[in-house]
Symmetry: C2
Subunit: 282 residues, 2 copies
């Protein structure tokens, strides 16, 4: 009988039954210290924004940082960093794009010529691309490899959590009730996969009124502490909407931005211990 | 040799080579006049919001409306309508939930008990669920079946466009540049699949300042006409951010909202002709 990938009900004693069997290894020329996934159960909450700003802040503190853009069906990381040239390789390994401040980036958008072309790939192909981004890229020495996850709990999210030895996941949310329900899905997926949850970042929490400077709440009042309590995770940061910031990001100038709002997240990542993971759950 | 699902390079003359071969038929007890997909290349732009408000406006005009919530990894339609009871069936067909105003809804969230449980299904299973939502649901007579698409151009989006005889797609965007690039992917996917694009709706375009009533642009100035021009599609509507609206939606009171902003979209859908589709592209 062929493998049905359901170890729990299978009596065979094959190799894939080994613990951590889905975890892949990166190539020997790399040394990656911590892998942090930035995730949410839903798109459009600013996961890529948080990934990029976090990469910036870590780089400013002297860490060697990489971004693996796993949001293959809607990648926005390269644009934010003003990186446009397609990736090249040496026949064996692919070289990441390197930003002005030295952040290394790999993204599907750096492999296709027409950036508005839909990447209409089926799940297994997407999973394969992510595996390649981890295994066949010359990341060299990296303190923090941030993985900008695809939204949702579908194929690609599953693949990343199964294949990469993720040390922690940062969950991103916005103040909308509906979105919190969906964040619950992301939290529960991480728990199912036995992955350490670093904490919760609330994005688009407020903006400053242009007339009086008072805070406005376009998506309702902050739910950071409520949602964090509900799922027993750490509330880490509440981020404002800032139209001037968006302009700089759209222009590819993200590395010129000073952004003190993520200090708590940076601390949490610095203090995050390595953890032996048991991924044999699916 | 087994089927590799690549008709263009295959010499076999099998049944699946027939035009429209992937299109499935709904059951004989249904009569569905028009199927409209609401799509975007990215999550969080308010696709579900537009789907629900559009359903409302069409229902108010006397049309029989159904919502097929295909956003299986992050479904928010039932919450907006305050529908919570799980779906039941008669052994043969499943019955949709029916809202106060008579809108029929089918969503994965109405099939699972713990709403915050992640639906961590692989692509083919997701595709199968959508097929079932179309085939095995007693929709009865429907003028407009709105399909709330999953974000992105991945598995589930592909499946919907391949399997359902979609008459038109409404593309949703926000004013951010990055998002427009990603909307391009959705537009191009629809073109690849030979599906009629009804036009573009820009969500979160502005909000009213609480002090002076002037418009504020949290995500930058409107890009509706620019993006519509760029991709040669019709600009249909520019929607405000309204925190009071969000509150009503979070409370499940979406049907109590008066929303004149979608009149153009409703007109476009009313005037949309049936079209013979050629889906034999994948």
């Amino acid at each position: 009988m062929g493998c049905e990938h359901n170890c729990s009900s299978c009596s065979s004693n094959c190799q894939t039954k080994d613990k951590n069997s889905f975890i892949v290894e990166t190539n020997k020329r790399n040394s990656i210290k911590k892998i942090i996934a930035v995730h949410s159960g839903k798109g459009g909450v600013g996961k890529s924004f948080v990934t990029c700003m976090l990469a910036n802040e870590l780089a400013k503190k002297g860490y060697k940082v990489g971004i693996l853009d796993a949001d293959i069906t809607g990648p926005s990381v390269p644009t934010a960093f003003g990186v446009t040239e397609n990736l090249v390789g040496d026949g064996e390994l692919m070289f990441p794009a390197i930003t002005e401040k030295g952040i290394r980036i790999v993204s599907i958008n750096l492999l296709i010529d027409d950036k508005s072309k839909p990447v209409a790939w089926r799940g297994p192909v997407l999973g394969g691309a992510i595996k390649q981004f981890y295994q066949d890229v010359l990341w060299e020495e990296i303190d923090f490899l941030l993985v900008d996850m695809p939204p949702g709990t579908g194929d690609v999210a599953l693949s990343v959590f199964q294949m990469l030895p993720v040390d922690g996941v940062v969950i991103v949310s916005t103040p909308q009730d509906l979105v919190s329900m969906i964040v619950g899905k992301a939290v529960n997926l991480a728990k199912m996969m036995n992955i350490n949850i670093v904490g919760l970042v609330e994005n688009m929490a407020y903006m400053k009124c242009e007339c009086c400077g008072n805070p406005l709440y376009p998506f309702g009042p902050s739910k950071l502490n409520d949602v964090a309590n509900e799922f027993s995770i750490k509330p880490l940061a509440s981020l404002p909407i800032d139209p001037t910031l968006n302009k700089q990001i759209d222009a590819g100038n993200i590395e010129k931005i000073n952004y003190p709002y993520l200090d708590n997240v940076v601390n949490a990542l610095e203090n995050l211990g390595k953890k032996k993971l048991d991924k044999n759950l699916f």
